[in-house]
Symmetry: C2
Amino acid sequence: MKLYYAASSPFVRKCLICAHELKVRDQIELAPAAPHPVNRDRSVVEHNPLGKIPTLITDDGEALYDSKVICEYLNSLGDGHLLPAAGPRRWHALVDQALADGILDAAVLTRYETVARPESLRWNDWIGGQLEKVRSGLADFEQRVSALAGRLDIGVITLGCALGYLDFRFASLSWRDEHPGLAGWYLEMAQRESFAATQPG
Amino acid sequence: MKLYYAASSPFVRKCLICAHELKVRDQIELAPAAPHPVNRDRSVVEHNPLGKIPTLITDDGEALYDSKVICEYLNSLGDGHLLPAAGPRRWHALVDQALADGILDAAVLTRYETVARPESLRWNDWIGGQLEKVRSGLADFEQRVSALAGRLDIGVITLGCALGYLDFRFASLSWRDEHPGLAGWYLEMAQRESFAATQPG
């Protein structure tokens, strides 16, 4: 398989962490990509019209995206333990993935606003609205952090990627200050080999 | 069940179309919501920290989101025919959903840029990049439109919602001009009761 990849992308990282945990990482070759919301990477667009990464090319030559679809595919290649097959555990894992992905979407939109967009065209209310999503999302996880302990599924893996991305791009948010429970939970999660091997950079 | 709802949201429409097709529509009560990227709707945030719709409250009181998760849940309540259980048909349905959702995400971001954002802060290159995603996505579907015929799954339903949203908010794009195959396909899809009963407004 071939994965279009950038070391700074939290959504790529999510896929690689799943691949590590599912012991299929060595089946994946990385293809560097340089996606951008305005200047699109043609090598990615050829396979994924949205021009976004991660995009996975399977051994059958099929292009799979977005990260949710890729992680489900990797889960089906491995032993399937990252995505409960049915029932309440499945819905909890999927909603937690949607919430952590939503935190990431808001953080990435904030990054585009503050780095990609010309300074004179930035809108503070937009940044404020996006960062409020980040804060509300973190507060929700913090409030039920004891129920996260011991879980290893697509929901908590995505949460770990979101916290790692905040450390990487939004250190000034100091998310640990108001979320001591999450800080403790992440300390353990970040020590897993899958996380340590996929540090953003 | 209760669905936080706005008649203008294409992601809400996707859920309602699935509910119609799965014959579970009468189990859903609608709760009007007014989400906005800057001024968040507190009644939604209470259940979904991202403040986004659709958000579904199940009969057990659990909050489910985003639209992908809600549609999968509705599929599990109905007879399950909108999401193939496994194999290539599942990946095709999920990738097509991701592509059509991506077209919608790009269209909604363009709408925020051209309607919500103060005029002096708009960035033409951003609008250009988003609309290029829309066009590349439509071109991809057009190029393989014959394979869409006869399918009724989460992928093609999402595509129908995307085309309906372009008609609703981006009539000036005249998407039919360059995509005659999709125009013919959509003519038939839009006549289904599930689509006719959920016109955006």
